[in-house]
Symmetry: C2
Amino acid sequence: MSVTFDYKNAMSFMKKTEMENLSQFVKQAHHQIHTHQGPGSDYLGWVEWPIQYDKDEFERLKSAAKKIQEQSDALIVIGIGGSYLGAKAAIEALSHTFHNQMEGTTEVYFAGQNISSTYIEHLLQVLEGKDISINVISKSGTTTEPALAFRIFREFMEKKYGVEETRNRIYVTTDKTEGALRNLATEEGFETFVIPENIGGRYSVLTPVGLLPIAVAGLDIDAMMAGAASAYHQYNNPDMTTNGCYQYAAVRNIFNNKGKSIELLVAYEPSLRYVAEWWKQLFGESEGKDSKGLFPASVNFTTDLHSIGQYVQEGRRLFIETAIQIKKSSVERTIQADENNMDGLNFLSGKTMDEVNKKAALGTTLAHIDGGVPNLLIELDELNEYTFGELVYFFEKACAISATLLGVNPFDQPGVEAYKINMFALLGKEGFEEERNQLEDRLEKISGE
Amino acid sequence: MSVTFDYKNAMSFMKKTEMENLSQFVKQAHHQIHTHQGPGSDYLGWVEWPIQYDKDEFERLKSAAKKIQEQSDALIVIGIGGSYLGAKAAIEALSHTFHNQMEGTTEVYFAGQNISSTYIEHLLQVLEGKDISINVISKSGTTTEPALAFRIFREFMEKKYGVEETRNRIYVTTDKTEGALRNLATEEGFETFVIPENIGGRYSVLTPVGLLPIAVAGLDIDAMMAGAASAYHQYNNPDMTTNGCYQYAAVRNIFNNKGKSIELLVAYEPSLRYVAEWWKQLFGESEGKDSKGLFPASVNFTTDLHSIGQYVQEGRRLFIETAIQIKKSSVERTIQADENNMDGLNFLSGKTMDEVNKKAALGTTLAHIDGGVPNLLIELDELNEYTFGELVYFFEKACAISATLLGVNPFDQPGVEAYKINMFALLGKEGFEEERNQLEDRLEKISGE
């Protein structure tokens, strides 16, 4: 086991019997998920995915990644939500901190994750003079943000390369048979990869959705899938006493029921920032419905100990805190003694920076316990492709169990449509005339008040 | 006025009389702040700063920035908390999205804001072959994170440039007379800038703390100070009915009292991400004490509408939402018609992307009101140095009034010490022996349970 869960630093805020009392429900939730039943059961494809994914498609994906690396200086990944955050999380966590500035790599940029004209203009500028390929990722092909970006980049490339060569540089990840993007890909002859129909966006990082960009960035996706497969086996056990993944789900449920309202995901490595963003989507979108759920927030320590650390220590007692800790840093640096010691830090000389970072983490945990914040700990032996795959599966399964215990459908996201309907209405899209009239009346009323 | 505040989209959740009832207390808080009284009154130097800052030091700072631009390819800014977030926020908001990759700029990197050995190693790698200068920012010079980074960079530079030339490339921003860093600077003859003693870290972005890196990045700090001075005059009025800054403070107080627990700062431009991080420190550190305060969280829309948007729409009703909106985008891009219209987006052709972004924002506001989230709006005419300065002052003053209404000291941060004491004890620092023994007993107990 290279990912472990530990809740001993929450035990002063709860009783052992609370866990025991939950174990039967966890078993039931496990059974429901493994027999593909319950609300949202059409989206349980992720459960067995790490041991059942299509190996031929996987090899073809690796070849495509190699082809992109050879044909281009940079890959533009066009996607939003689950078609964006998984790859972004993996690449930030596992690549060089300044990946796009280092020699000998294929740069990876993201587009279609916002509607900022400044962002896309600046992106086009930084790409000037570079050879590029595109991976456009969308189940339907009609989601506004990525579809707009795709229009812009296709036009940009057709001007630069001509229609024929552009075709050779566009890679599409979409539905197997249906939708605008599938149809376009068929018509134009783009190389395509399939978004499995039984895996939702926030569960899709280990499918071609995440894997193609991750492989282009030079990461080892074989190891990533092996890590996920290992997690499949580790957490395939209904008995909560030996299943850390289910313990995490249960502890979240306990503190939710005690009235905590925020779970703070804490990382001590800045490269994990987008792992936290990915985690926020996973848990926020799965649980945040029917007026329920812990609100998922995140911080980078020790950085943010000097910003919202004060609030976490002494503000409203809203939190549980879950820290991700890497046992063995991939880089070691020993602190040197300084002749004058004017900063008073010579007591650290001979220690490694990572040792200091770890003591800061432990010191923080103890301080926050004193401040009334139950602390959970997820430890990775190292940070690499294997443990990343394992961690992803750990969170995915914990989330499904946790949301099931909460009594919601873990796999839908009905609330995401609300702003889109208003947006389409306000933009005058056909079929939204009635909504438009209603909104305009409403806006007039608001500004008249 | 190029920054305005509007709370009409919160009015369905509150009464006009609630504002009226608060106005006398806002007046009182205004009086307290402007006469430099009340808790933390030693740290009210920021109030008159935009109209009283030292113009000679300001000119010297601009010369130093020019010198750095001439002598180096890159500036490394070493600082944490308030000595980091302000400059980072300004540079991200106002520079090119890919600033460090663009030709003809002085690159700006940050260090000393974490204890990650991976981060600092990667930073040293990306700097290979570049000429660098350092701006180390610390009131005391003994804060662990920046002091460690400074040791590493000084050694790195002395190897690269020799002792003499290194001296010429180190710029120190620190206390006027006291502290380890001041003493070292005097001894070594580094060029120094002063952190005003009556301005706390989170209020320091418009002092040399923020201004030197901001100027090196090529931004117009004259305009920034002019914007802040304009805000000083605009918000120098105790009457809440005509003071948007105080209205924001009052509305926050009202919803805090109604039981809301999170304020979500929303931006529709990705470049504002670190403005939100800066804002989190400002409000979190000022208000998060005595078990009080709205928890400051942030999102980038429309990006995050596809991740935690679901939670905001339908999860627990914890929120108020404050959107920052830029009226006139600095970049315009018109959406082109597509012959085949397979993505169905031709109804947008002829519109600008920014128009779509604005309608997404309005659609989101209306959807979130329907979801029970009171919506506040801060509008900037444009995003530039002037409005940035204005916005900073708007938030600073609103925060002071809001924290005063909440009944806390807006200018201390007693909780930040807690983790440091534990960390020093665990690392065996002299003088912390007793704490160390206590912690070790406690850790033994926890792991024995």
